[in-house]
Amino acid sequence: MLVGGLLIIVAGLMAFFPSLSDSNDSVDWISLPLVGFPILVSCILLAFASQETRARKQVIAGPIRLFTLCASLIPLGISTALFFDWLILVNWENLSYNQYELEKEYVWIETIGVSWHVGMDGLSFPMVWLTTFLVPITIITTWNEKDGATYHPLLLMMGGALIGVFVALDLFLFYVFWELTLIPMFFLILKWGGKDRRYAAQKFFIYTFCASVIMLLGLITLYFLQPEGSGPGYGTVTNRTFDMKELFANAAFYNEGDKVFLGKDMQNILFAMLMIGFLVKLPAVPFHTWLPDAHVQAPTGGSMLLAGVMLKMGAYGMLRIPIAIFPDAVIYYQDVIMAIGLISLVWGAIVCLGQTNLKKMVAYSSVSHMGVILLGIASMQPIGYAAALFMMFAHGIISPMLFAVCGAFKHHYHSMEIGAMRGMAKWSPYLAVYMMFAWMASLGLPLLAGFVAELMVMIAFWPEYGWWILLPGAVLAITAAYYLWSMQRTIFEGGDEGQPPESLHGETPPDITLSENIGMIILAIFTVIFGILPFIALGMMDDWTVAFFEGVFKAGGI
């Protein structure tokens, strides 16, 4: 029955995917290898594992885990190869605005103009690479998680859905993947979470779903306000399209030009509706309350992907859709965005100071860092946008490491309280080193990846807002304070013998396992690499930013 059902679904997929609409016969490197493969493999593994008894699940957990790791290495290999131009000629650095590499378009729902349109540019490729990179790291770091037969496939599925968000060039497709990411994360929190996982999982799902539907209404309204057209990608009944490329090409119509379709107020309202969906995902301060709950309850692997990639979906979506289509509205809302960014930054940092729960502190520090991205966007400088992109990327490498440390802490000491463990340097030297490294990276130590982004944001901030720069500057000091303070309490205090946590009941505190060690050291290495040689990723981002400003703001007459 199971096999039959799968066969029917696969046959259904086959029925509409081959309807190739472009004449370009080049290999499709995105649809199947990067998106379809992880999702399909994980679905099959989950269906297979769910049929087994509890005892059998223990037995098959090992092979499934290994298989999942191998499967997750394939997208990583492909995306790395794409970066270095090993496989095919891709040219990330000279793309003009609204041009994409490895573009593929297949008709999906013809009647309303939905197509499976994927492609990558300097904005999405770093995020895609980051996702493909983080999934195997996450699997390795949480190698010993219980119920591995279903846990690791869920991580893989999460990766596939996240990549789908970043490569989608069709609003409908984008939204489908946007919501699809909720489902594996919901299960990760629900089945492997902490004590309040029921509450946290539902809050996470409902909170982000509410915001997304408002965004969807904005998208639909935008869809019907676009001028009618015809051709590939346009609906046969509605005469309009969800194709982003087409929308961006027509976006000039929405602004000052020959013909103005949308009044300023309409643009502002649509911009705000779209931004609500992205701000909640980011999360920015009035909408951030789901994040600490989700993070504290989520298992380590879930937190790593959540902080590493899922939050960036918000920033990515902002840059991809509303800002690109309504540049006028960005000017209109510039101060609001700046204010939200500053409040997130300040509020997140101050709340961090008062936290006793290690993971909660790290979660709020994420809120704080996401505020930096908003500042970069509000600065309206190319360097600010490039900084925002690099912040997304750098935080995507550093924050998984933070959560890996928290996870190891919880795993080995059975407690999340900062005061519970003192003198970690004596008992768990490896964990102490990684913790110190990750904390330093996150507070923006020079030569580590986070510093580059923060510095660039500051540079962009100055010409626009002048002496307001003292505020983010002061917050960086607060950030250093809470990180150093928590480090001092856990790693160094407690005299020669330290104070092993009470939750261990007198047992010797263990050090981290080999798999955790491997995962964290890879993350540490990449943090250093991108700190010393930021231009590896920054070059591409810079070019994208320049093209973006050329194509959006200059073309819009701003």
């Binding site: 029917i8 769910s50 049929q51 779903f209 969807l216 209404l217 309409m266």
Partner: protein
């Protein structure tokens, strides 16, 4: 003498019971033959008829000691399922390519029924729902041949096999008549035929307290609603001297206040069927007391039947005069009603711990979404929005799509509850606890149905909700970009807010749909439910069909969307 409707090109008018008639209505004829067979076959026996005043006994075969082969209690279910399957297959094959002939049946100058894409679409929907329900009932109300021990319940079940499936087929036939009807009287006859059958089906388990209670409640409220509707019909006849849809529509322009009141009363009757607030109070009780497959039919097919009524009355016979001031009042009333219905349904569902009641309230909420869509069409129809007719067709098509895919996931959810009912009740949320652990596939299927109901992509429920909202928004925007220099927010018609209300409501609804998922995946199974689920091959098959349809119609719904558009086009809204 043929009416004027037959004059147009491509029109195919036939007289009742002519050869052409039987050719066009072969699937319906099969249903009726199946119904007759259901009457006859289980009663075949060895009885003899004595010719009066003689001692000659003539074999009569009807009654007496039943023949073993045909008297099997499992037979009626098989027969009904096979009949429905054949009829459904014929309809699908006939209409899937969209090259179906329109056939109008006239008698004495009156158009009785008309078979076009619209009515065929609904017939397919009805038969699919009833087929799935009757398939599921093969296991849900099991038939046994006795081997020694007899339990009272089994005997009840066996005795009533034929009754159950006769009622099922009658429901299907009544619904088909509603779909075909071109005359309000015929429509009403079909509606009552289906309703009476469902009243009995709801109270089918009359031994249980809730079964009898729900049956009586549903019957009383339903018959009051029908009575009000019938009164409205008689007033309409008083006003126009006819109940023909086309003629009322043509004469409506100079209608008096009496006609408006009459139509309002007719709407009450249909409002009950779609369970729109404030006529929805019987629905949760009825669904909770009926057995799950029947409740599934009520929530899908019966709702679609009411929706046909609303579409015919509101969109074919337009309520207000176009452009008149009074029209706005009707529009506001309908819009308010839709918002109240969806909000009431969702808020009530939040608080209900009985999964069947919860699904009933969610069905009320879905009725609200569809009323919102009809409001948007109304805004177009009554001249508040300037747009060509394909805008209105898009919304109607979206509503049809929504009704159709509801059969997949709402009925599917009820069938999962039906599977749980086979091992005891399913009237508490805790009955579902640990379902994903006891039977991962069924648990996952239920979770997917819930996600589809909530409107999570890429499932069919998302596409349908998306299309409905897109339809409403498209209508509120209209062709502003052609006529206006630059569109400002105040230019957009207020029905846009209904789309927002709908999305906010669907965000609320996620809460209770998700709760089911949490209970299934997280909680420990309750006492007495630790064993694997009962097997039930045919009910599982029905669940699987629903599941595959839910996923596939979400991933590639283009064929169905085209079918819906054709159906909406054949309404000739403009």
């Amino acid at each position: 003498m043929l009416p004027a409707a037959c004059d147009g090109p491509g029109m195919n008018c036939v007289e009742v019971f002519s050869t052409d008639f039987w050719q066009a209505f072969a699937p319906e004829a099969i249903l009726i033959i199946g119904l007759l067979l259901l009457f006859i076959i289980p009663n075949l026996g060895n009885s003899k008829f004595r010719i009066p005043l003689t001692k000659t006994h003539v074999p009569w075969f009807f009654g007496g000691k039943r023949v073993k082969a045909t008297g099997s209690p499992a037979l009626p279910g098989m027969l009904a399922t096979a009949t429905l399957f054949t009829a459904l297959g014929m309809m699908v094959i006939e209409s899937i390519d969209g090259k179906m002939d329109t056939t109008t049946v006239v008698s004495g100058g009156i158009i009785i029924i008309k078979m076009d894409n619209f009515s065929r679409f609904f017939e397919i929907l009805f038969l699919a729902a009833v087929l799935l329900a009757s398939m599921a009932s093969l296991d849900r109300i099991p038939a046994h041949t006795f081997h020694g021990k007899k339990s009272l319940e089994e005997m009840y079940d066996n005795r009533r096999q034929a009754d159950f499936y006769i009622l099922m087929l009658t429901t299907a036939i009544g619904m088909c008549i509603v779909a075909l009807a071109q005359d309000l009287f015929v429509l009403f006859v079909g509606l009552e035929l289906a309703s009476l059958a469902t009243y009995v089906l709801v109270g089918f388990h009359k031994e249980t307290k809730s079964g009898a209670e729900s049956g009586v409640k549903y019957f009383i409220v339903g018959s009051v609603a029908s009575g009000v509707g019938l009164y409205g019909l008689s007033l309409l006849y008083l006003e126009f001297g006819t109940l023909q849809l086309t003629e009322i529509a043509a004469n409506w322009v100079d209608s008096s206040i009496l006609g408006t009141i009459a139509l309002g009363l007719v709407l009450v009757g249909f409002g009950f069927k779609v369970s729109a607030a404030p006529f929805h109070f019987a629905a949760p009780d009825a669904y909770a007391g009926a057995n799950s497959p029947v409740a599934g039919v009520l929530a899908t097919a019966s709702k679609a039947m009411g929706m046909i009524g609303l579409i015919r009355v509101l969109l074919i016979i337009a309520l207000p005069e176009s452009g008149a001031q009074e029209s706005a009042i009707w529009l506001y009333a309908l819009g308010t009603l839709s918002v109240i219905t969806m909000t009431w349904g969702n808020v009530a569902a939040l608080g209900s711990t009985n999964p069947k009641r919860m699904l009933a309230y969610s069905s009320v909420a879905h009725a609200g979404y569809m009323l919102a869509a009809l409001t948007a069409v109304g805004a177009w129809k009554w001249g508040e929005v300037e747009a060509p007719s394909d805008y209105a067709e898009a919304i109607v098509a979206a509503v049809l799509f929504h009704l159709f895919v509801l059969v997949a996931f709402k009925l599917g959810a009820f069938l999962v509850l039906g599977l749980l009912e086979m091992e005891g009740g399913a009237s508490r949320l805790s009955a579902l606890s640990g379902l994903a652990r006891r039977d991962p596939l069924i648990g996952t299927a239920m979770f997917i149905f819930m996600l589809a109901l909530a409107g999570v992509p890429p499932l069919a429920g998302f596409v349908s909700k998306f299309l409905v909202v897109a339809g409403i928004v498209s209508n509120s925007v209209g062709e502003l970009w052609v006529t206006t220099e630059s569109v400002s927010f105040s230019d957009i018609h207020w029905v846009w807010w209904l789309a927002l209300a709908m999305f906010i409501n669907s965000a609320i609804s996620v809460f209770y749909y998700l709760r089911i998922g949490v209970v299934m995946f997280l909680d420990v199974p309750e006492e007495g439910r630790r064993k694997p689920l009962p097997y039930g091959a045919s009910i599982r098959m029905a669940i699987w069909i629903c599941l595959v349809a839910t996923v596939l119609l979400g991933l590639s719904g283009d064929t169905l969307i085209r079918m819906c558009y054709r159906a909406a086009e054949s309404l000739n809204l403009a």
